[in-house]
Symmetry: C2
Subunit: 345 residues, 2 copies
């Protein structure tokens, strides 16, 4: 089961995550509009996964640009990159992937448009493959932090489905499981879109890792009851000081973990780090439609017309984070210094 | 709109809260089995409301006891009271109502079974009417604590629907609104059964009190964003030391409120206080079926067979509670002393 797959005829096949776990269906994206639409409606979601999908989206867009000159081609690619970047504001991996492809494009000497297209595809493939490799690396670093028999709480889905494969937070969990550590997992269901209930439990069941589903509001009582040893989540954007934007509810978990003296880990590839932003206050937080909260499967669960606040992410300040697990090792306080050091390797 | 209504022909009409807000339908309970079933499947819910409903359930049961002697009648009533008490373990109001009716029965001099039945009905009516009066009284005490323009977060439904009428936490909110304080409300949707989304928003819309719906996991970010001034919730059982059992998620909110320096109030009638228990650790916490978490409206939202932890309540320790608002005034620390004082008035 792959989150996405590049088909050589010029098509990005995406697993439609909005249908999981009830239906396993695929979307065939043939241009960047298809990919943008899939990202917007969360058929593909998770910061690293939307980075890789957008990279292929840019390749698809570049295939349709009918110009003879390199400059016009680059201008066209830039315009498509802007459109893809605008689909979702919080996860920085999207912009990171676009910047990386554009940089590659600009630094390629050839004037041949078809060769430039091939360069873009090669770079998108590299982003995709590197993401899996990086997840395995951060999984190995992270699993060293997990005690034998640990009972681990996670939020949303930072798994194979949120990445090109293997996963970030779930990558660490997979690596600990593969190391024979006899871990078990509590999965927050993660309202409103239930990525924990729908995706994380599904991944854990497939990997034969013991998993128990809870509603988000049970996490505090779970901790107070001594049923959990540590928390690990993914990230959508990490700022220079180590503040972390992640799925709404992450901040509450981090506060609760600190009050209960539990380690709170963030697992993310360095493509999630945005050194341009000094702190989490600068991260744009996407607010999504109220229908996500008021309806389930198209059916209302609240009175018609009720006002809703629906931020898709929140920001967890660095002081609540025990460590950030990356493909280049585990970063600890002071984050500002240590993150820059790791990024400059 | 009444939560329940006694019909003189010997029938308890219950608003079926499991169908709200989409359908307004009523159940006619003609014996105590009907009432027990309605309590179990949460057609009627909320500690004070199930106390009053069970009182009428006992009256209905007593109507069907065909015996000639007072002792046999009392034994029959006691047996039915045990059945009704067993429907839900956490809210103490159920047991409180049964104890009160049995005490009244035992202290009534007449040997006439029909007169005894009438005494039970009169006492049930008293419980019902007193609950509304008490809510208005605690509302008045509580609203004095609410600043003008306060933005109030509440959890689950501690409203007219959770009581005989007016409400506890929502009673305070109603009283503050009626006092012209220009308050507004954030309602946690309250998974798994969405009493906040379905019932609290509905009550607030009917009362024309501004309300915004959020998912439970947004509460921490709401507080960190400075969008809320205080938290107020109801209670299902309060122990002698002021620990509070209430809907799952209450504990997380109380921790978050303390971390963000926000007052955390509990509003409940004294029928919710259980002086027999020294602390919250002794409160039995009901665990409900996994289907409440894995399914919505009968449709699955999680993979088949996934393990679930589904406690219906949690316990908030007294140290996290700013004050307990009752019909005899606002109780503050030290709760052990002050609660006993108020209870002995």
């Amino acid at each position: 089961m792959n989150t996405m797959r590049w088909l050589e005829e010029g098509c990005l096949e995406l697993l439609d995550q909005s249908k999981l776990p009830l239906e396993v269906t695929y979307l065939n994206c043939r241009d960047h509009f298809d990919v943008a639409a899939a990202i917007k409606r969360l058929a593909v979601r998770g910061a690293p996964a939307i980075g890789a999908a957008a990279a292929y989206g840019l390749v698809l867009g570049a295939m349709k640009i009918e110009v003879y000159h390199k400059e016009a081609f680059i201008a066209g690619v830039e315009s498509i990159a802007r459109e893809l970047t605008a689909t979702r504001p919080t996860a920085v991996n999207l912009r990171w992937a676009m910047d990386r492809l554009l940089k590659k494009l600009r630094s390629t000497a050839t004037e041949d448009i078809n060769e430039l297209r091939a360069v873009l595809l090669a770079e998108a493939n590299l982003i995709y493959r590197e993401d899996i490799t990086n997840n395995r690396k951060l999984g190995a670093y992270g699993q060293a932090l997990i005690p034998v028999g640990a009972r681990i709480l996670t939020h949303c889905n930072a798994g194979a489905l949120a990445t090109a494969g293997y996963g970030t937070a779930l990558g660490v969990i997979r690596a600990a499981h593969e190391a024979g550590k006899k871990i078990s997992v509590y999965a927050d269901e993660t309202r409103p879109l239930l990525q924990g209930a729908r995706l994380t439990t599904w991944e854990m069941l497939h990997a034969r890792i013991p998993v128990t589903l809870i509603t988000d509001n049970m996490a505090g009582y779970l901790m107070a009851s001594g049923k959990v040893d540590l928390v690990i989540v993914g990230a959508d954007r990490i700022t220079a000081n180590g503040d972390v934007a992640n799925k709404i509810g992450t901040y509450s978990l981090a506060v609760l973990a600190q009050v209960h003296n539990l380690p709170f880990y963030v697992a993310a590839p360095l493509s999630t780090v945005d050194l341009d932003l000094a702190s989490g206050e600068e991260i744009p937080i996407e607010e999504r439609e109220s229908v996500e909260v008021t309806h389930l499967d198209g059916r209302p669960v609240a009175p018609a017309g009720v006002k809703v606040w629906n931020p898709a992410f929140d920001v967890t300040p660095n002081r609540l984070i025990t460590a950030i697990i990356t493909e280049r090792g585990v970063i600890r306080r002071p984050y500002l210094k240590n993150m820059q050091e790791v990024m400059s390797i």
